[in-house]
């Protein structure tokens, strides 16, 4: 727990999402929405439902997705006015004052993690940076009734009965996310 770096290095924590125990209850989505006071039709944390297989041997996976605060963010590259920055706490932040609402970041993000809000400004997951700074976990993590989410150092991710989901394409820009699936 805790964030911020004592010596100024980028923070090495990752979001961990255990797809084997995520049952798609959407509580994380609502908790995030409540914290950011989002309007009814916008979510910066979304949950996709993936159905596969042939009846009755089907499989359903719910995949929460949000900005993963990449090591080499595409949005910071794309922004023409340098309004997006990777902070020292590891989170990628959009400066509302500097932002001109051009939408380049929305286009650039390969994970479609940035959205336009009603006031025509881009909005995305902010990592609950202020709460993490106080020593709490991000609200999605601590709201999960299945304890399927976490935000922690990569080396502390519990891999018992789990392997990393290699279906997830990291697009080469180092999203700080580890999806876990059950080890068969």
């Amino acid at each position: 727990m805790g964030s911020g770096s004592e010596d100024g290095r980028m923070n090495k924590q990752v979001f961990m999402i255990d797809l084997a125990s995520c049952t798609g209850c959407y509580t994380c989505m609502v908790a995030c929405k409540d914290r950011l006071n989002l309007q009814d039709d916008i979510n910066v944390l979304k949950v996709d439902e993936e159905e596969s297989g042939n009846y009755p041997d089907i499989k359903v996976v719910y995949r929460p997705q949000h900005c993963f605060h990449c090591e080499k963010p595409a949005c910071t590259e794309a922004c023409p006015v340098d309004a997006i920055s990777k902070e020292s706490d590891g989170f990628v932040k959009i400066d509302e004052e500097e932002c001109i609402g051009c939408g380049e970041c929305v286009e650039a993000c390969p994970f479609d993690a940035i959205y336009f809000s009603d006031d025509d400004l881009p909005i995305k997951c902010d990592g609950c940076a202020d709460e993490v700074g106080l020593g709490w976990k991000p609200v999605c993590v601590r709201s999960c009734p299945m304890r399927a989410l976490d935000y922690l150092p990569l080396e502390e991710v519990n891999m018992q009965n789990r392997i990393q989901d290699t279906d997830f394409d990291d697009k080469g820009i180092g999203p700080r996310i580890v999806y876990l699936i059950r080890k068969e």
């Binding site: 049952t23 914290r35 709201s143 999960c144």
Partner: protein, 703 residues
């Protein structure tokens, strides 16, 4: 949003929705407004005291509080019943009129001319809200006509009563970590709470090596926690159970020591299963035709269940909401007994997963001496009002904390029944479809706008009022206090105490650790509950059950007088019009609502648009495409709802989640997708809800 620590108050509370959980939440309040809802951070999370983490319904309450469907002022009908035509009036006028009507009907026709309908909008408190506030009121006023029955678990209660002497099967959640096999039989803890942490412990058990099997017409979200999904035709659970029992008997695998020591009447069941009575052995092949489960799968399941210990059968409450649900519930208990798992930690049979209990017995506000003189069944009250069977008839309806039209079967008949009333009062937080049929609507405040002491799940919660009631909303307690004053029993109802004063009274009476409770908002129970039937299993003579024999009754003497066979045999429930309405409809609870509470929360509504689940084969046969608007209809009504084509439901079955608000257009078609528009007035033989025994036809709108 910035965290301005200084001017934000954090007030713990629990939500009082109709749900099998009771969770810990905290409201952030600034300048008299709730700005955020959270779960309290920093709480320990261990097996003995796992966090009581709220779901999206609880967490989304801030949006719900601000819904445009919230009633803010008393309103009086100015147009036809069921329309939106109402005018705002002030409290005095509204209270005067209702008090006068109550006086009038009692004097002219007797108090039983008033029908009291209540529901589960607000639960667990000491009597200030919802059904407890109104039940109290009428207990001082007179003998009304009321409702009866339990739409949630009636048949489960019957079986528990007849077979076990009223013992309800539960499992202490950490015991699941001992289980090697967990059978979720129409049990969906991922979407609906049967205990706050049941789904979590099932997932943990699976990680420890337990196999999880889901038996359900649908691959619910709980399917994600399962290793195997066995789709089963709705209402045929007893056929599957009979076939499993048949395999065990044929292979000599039944735990006869258990049956001989702890049960009575097994011989009759054994004869049935082997076909010695009717000449029809209940083989897997026999069951395949009925359940649509391949015989091979049934045999495999039977062998796995009997050879894996501890194995626990966890039935949900869906399967017993079918015709003959009594048989389903009796069959579960019978099978669990035969399996040899009763008494094993992590084995046996349970309807919910529970936490440590508390020793605190909170008092409740006192009741008066009147009791209802007549009761009609809550799941189909409309029928009794329309068929003239009530004599003397009911003329006035008083509906509290209940979206009665919406949540009882045969919505259109319920609407007709209220239309025919001379006078209707509805008391609710939201302008529900039921409120539209009222003459006077009293607007009620929500959980965060009033104080209460709430018990639930073995814990005690202190809900301190977080913000003032919105608009002119009041508590049910306040409304009934004013009416009681006008009608001459004000003191009896209130003892001259306000709600706040009563909360203090209860705290002092129970010597509760005030500071701790007030600061943390909860006192958690400490006592680890005993295993179900522990005492009986240890010594069946000294700790005999409250059944006729003192043992577990496989044959039930009460069955015959209720028109049921004495043993849990399969009874086929044939659809009334199989050619016209060939698709079997199930109407489960949605994770987006607690019944119809929460429909008005647009955050939740927008998560998953309301659609009818239909298998690709049934869709293709009708030329239906995904998301296409469909007409769904049967002998009870018609609705328009878009399609969700999915493999997550078996062919021949469709699913419409219950709880969305009914909304009839000019042509009498429901465009709200209210499931009960398509459910009928039938009950199970002892009076249970049978809403999963309905059939519909589906077609494209374009035709």
């Amino acid at each position: 949003m910035k965290l301005h620590k200084n001017n934000i108050k954090k007030i713990p509370f629990t939500c009082t929705l109709d749900c099998g959980g009771r969770c810990e939440l905290v409201a952030w309040v600034r300048d008299g407004k709730v700005i955020r809802i959270d779960s309290p951070p920093g709480k320990p999370d261990n097996d003995h005291k796992p966090r009581l983490i709220p779901c999206l319904r609880g967490r989304g309450q801030r949006r719900l509080m601000n819904s445009r469907e919230r009633l803010l002022k008393p309103i009086k009908r100015s147009g036809a019943r069921g329309s939106n035509d109402f005018t705002e009036i002030d409290w005095d006028e509204a209270l005067d009129e209702v008090a006068e009507k109550l006086r009038y009907y009692k004097e002219q026709y007797g108090s039983e001319a008033v029908l009291h309908i209540t529901g589960y909008g607000s639960l667990g408190g000491r009597g200030f809200s919802g059904l407890s506030a109104s039940n109290r009121f009428f207990s001082f006023w007179g003998g009304v006509t009321d409702t009866c029955g339990n739409t949630s678990s009636w048949c489960a209660g019957i079986a528990s009563d007849w077979m076990l002497g009223d013992v309800w099967g539960s499992i202490y959640c950490p015991d699941l970590l001992n289980s090697r096999l967990i059978i979720l039989w129409g049990m969906n803890p991922a979407e609906n709470r049967h205990g706050v942490n049941l789904a979590y412990f099932i997932s943990r058990a699976r990680d420890k090596g337990a196999k999880v099997i889901l038996i359900d017409p649908r691959y619910t979200d709980s399917g994600i926690l399962a290793d195997q999904w066995i789709p089963i035709k709705p209402g045929t659970d007893v056929a599957l159970i009979s076939a499993i029992a048949n395999v065990w008997e044929n292979e000599g695998l039944t735990d006869m020591d258990f049956m001989n020591t702890y049960t009575t009447g097994y011989k009759a069941y054994r004869k049935y299963v082997l076909g010695h009575d009717d000449g029809v052995p209940k083989t897997p092949e026999w069951a395949e035709r009925i359940t649509k489960i391949p015989a091979e799968t049934i045999i495999q399941l039977a062998r796995e269940y009997i050879s894996t210990k501890p194995a626990i059968l966890l039935p949900g409450l869906g399967p017993q909401r079918t015709m003959y649900g009594e048989q389903t519930e009796r069959a579960y208990i019978t099978l669990a007994c035969m399996s040899g798992n009763m008494g094993l930690r992590g084995g046996g049979f349970a309807h919910d997963g529970i936490e440590p209990r508390g020793r605190v017995g909170l008092g409740n506000l006192p009741y008066g001496n009147y009791r209802p003189t007549r009761r009609i069944r809550s799941e189909n009250w409309g029928k009794f009002l329309l068929d003239g069977s009530l004599d003397p008839s009911v003329r006035m309806a008083y509906v509290v904390a209940s979206n009665a039209i919406n949540r009882s079967s045969d919505t259109l008949s319920n609407a007709k029944a209220l239309e025919a009333m001379e006078f209707v009062v509805v008391q609710d937080q939201y302008f529900t479809p039921t409120a539209k049929y009222a003459d006077i609507v009293f607007p009620i405040c929500n959980d965060l706008e009033r104080s209460d002491l709430v018990s639930g799940g073995g814990n005690v919660f202190y809900n301190k009022k977080a913000v003032d009631p919105l608009g002119e909303t009041k508590t049910d307690y306040w409304v009934f206090s004013r009416l009681a004053e006008q009608l001459g029993f004000g003191y009896e109802y209130t003892h001259n105490r306000t709600q706040e004063e009563w909360v203090e009274f209860f705290l002092n009476a129970e010597k509760l650790d005030d500071d701790r409770l007030k600061q943390e908002g909860v006192i958690r129970g400490e006592i680890i509950p005993e295993m179900t039937l522990a005492g009986f299993l240890k010594d069946p003579v000294s700790n005999s059950l409250r059944t006729k024999s003192g043992l577990i009754q496989i044959t039930c003497p009460q069955a015959e007088e209720n028109g049921l066979p004495e043993i849990p045999v399969y009874i086929e429930n044939k659809p009334e019009f199989p050619d016209d309405y060939p698709l079997h409809m199930v109407t489960p609870h949605s994770k987006l609502r607690a019944n119809s509470s929460g429909h008005a929360n647009l955050w939740l509504q927008n998560i998953e648009p309301h659609r009818i689940w239909i298998n690709p084969a049934d869709a293709e046969q009708r030329g239906i495409e995904d998301n296409e608007l469909l007409e769904v209809y049967n002998q009870f009504g018609k609705m328009l709802i878009p399609a969700r084509i999915t493999k997550r439901i078996m062919p021949g079955v469709v699913c419409i989640y219950q709880g969305t608000w009914f909304n009839i257009d000019e042509s009498g078609v429901d465009v709200g997708g209210c499931a009960n528009v398509l459910t009928g007035h039938h009950s199970t033989p002892t009076g249970g809800m049978a809403v999963h025994s309905e059939w519909v036809q589906v077609r494209r709108m374009a035709e």
